[in-house]
Symmetry: C2
Subunit: 252 residues, 2 copies
DNA sequence: AAGTCGCCTTGATCCAGATCAGTGTTTCAA
DNA sequence: TTGAAACACTGATCTGGATCAAGGCGACTT
């Protein structure tokens, strides 16, 4: 995980004054390719950095934003894990996703112009806040920024559609574990072993399963030597077999 | 439905020379608000019209694009209905959506840069083709175009997420019928009675149900006087009750 | 170190919807 | 007008995963 110096709740500090950790973070962030010095116009780049506010820390259970809040900004997770969810009028929760460091949150709020879901910290979380009006202005000036936004939005449609398919509990869980592994790996963390920061109930809800089913399937995967589970820590012992299980549900 | 003069397969003609029917279509299209003369810059507007190619007709079963094709353009349906689907390596189909006149197809292809799904005409279909590179260039110049693209993309994320929820067959079907009604109504068609252009099997697949279940639920809805079904024609007799059934699954 | 609270796991039972099997019905070609 | 094929409906049975019901197992308090 990124080590981030605590700076008090909701503190905002100038990113340009930030230290090496921040640069390391940016290199793995969803906006990294455009945030980091490339062939891009230097002034424009400075503008992108100017509009980023570093916010945090949030603690487990804190809301980054709430359903119904007016949409003003999208967020990149800097550290920790964020869960998005909606709660229907019967009070039932529906988990929409988990967001790792480097991933964006809030893209689904552009259309309704209000956040359509809650974003909740699962552990200690730091985020980058991108004012959306400022970002669109910048996007009109820097083609790479616009492209990246289109790509991020489009990718989310694809992800959501995959999850909507009808798949067995085994397929879903295998795909979930591999998906996490791949995302951790893309951000520079280990893809073989990682921590399930969220509760079993959250995993279950996200995958549209019962918590009991998640327990049982993890157990079964362990018995077949596909994984090793110990509490919230997982190790993928046989990614190839998992991939075979999940093949109908993985991107591609 | 829009009456469109047949012009031969894949014919392309200059939209600026188009007749009144096209204008009527544009007023109900997803891009209508930006395509049609508003307070917008006239030259820019002309550019948007310039980059639109009218393509068609496609006939039932024809592909508008195929999975794996290089992504170059997004499409607005002008007339008819388009189904998007993917086929996994085991040959099983997964229906991703149905697209009515005025709706966009292909937004989920931006990220992978290849179409991740097939788009197939369900009946006689005409589309507007928007070259994506041209569109992004234009979006950088006209804020309304950029905004509209962001909104369309964001809205699709929300739709896909709702479908991913776990819901009973009754909820799904009620929401499906109401959703269609609302979309037809938004495009200027009747919301009380319309035709299910797609086969029962497609509806079932889209809703992750068996075709038999769709039959049975429609039957049950009819017995409860919620709808009247006759072949592929439906009439919504009691939208209020349907809405109550579907409340956990409808936007909002 | 004992109690409490939040998970997590395991076993037993149940049920919504899938699957299987068979029968109409519509469409359309010749 | 007949035949064939695709589609739609209905009934009987089966099943994956939900639900119900108990424990177990840390991680904090006190």
């Amino acid at each position: 995980m990124n080590k981030v110096t605590a700076t008090g709740n909701l503190s905002i500090h100038n990113p340009i004054a930030d230290d090496g950790d921040d640069l390391h973070f940016c290199s793995t962030c969803a906006f990294g390719s455009v945030c980091l010095p490339a062939g891009v116009d230097k002034n424009a780049l400075r503008e992108l950095h100017m509009l980023v506010e570093h916010v945090g820390p949030f603690h487990a259970g804190d809301h980054v934003f709430r359903s119904g809040d007016r949409f003003e900004a999208i967020y990149a997770v800097r550290a920790g894990m964020v869960k998005t969810r909606l709660v229907d009028d019967a009070g039932r929760e529906q988990v929409l996703g988990f967001h790792l460091p480097g991933e964006m949150v809030g893209l689904n709020a552009i259309h309704p112009a209000k956040y359509p879901c809650d974003a909740i910290a699962l552990d200690t979380v730091y985020v980058c806040r991108f004012s959306f009006p400022a970002l669109t202005t910048l996007a009109a000036k820097i083609p790479d920024v616009q492209q990246q936004l289109f790509r991020l939005l489009s990718a989310d449609i694809g992800k959501a559609m995959l999850l909507a398919g009808d798949h067995t509990a085994d397929e879903r869980l295998a795909a979930f574990l591999l998906g996490l592994a791949e995302r951790y790996s893309a951000r520079g963390f280990s893809s073989a072993a990682f921590r399930l920061v969220m509760a079993r109930a959250d995993i279950a809800n996200y995958l549209r399963l019962a918590a009991e089913t998640v327990s049982r399937v993890l157990r079964r995967f362990q018995d077949k030597n596909l994984i090793r589970v110990e509490g919230r820590d997982v190790e993928l012992l046989d990614p190839a077999s998992l991939r075979r299980l999940a093949r109908n549900l993985l991107p591609g």
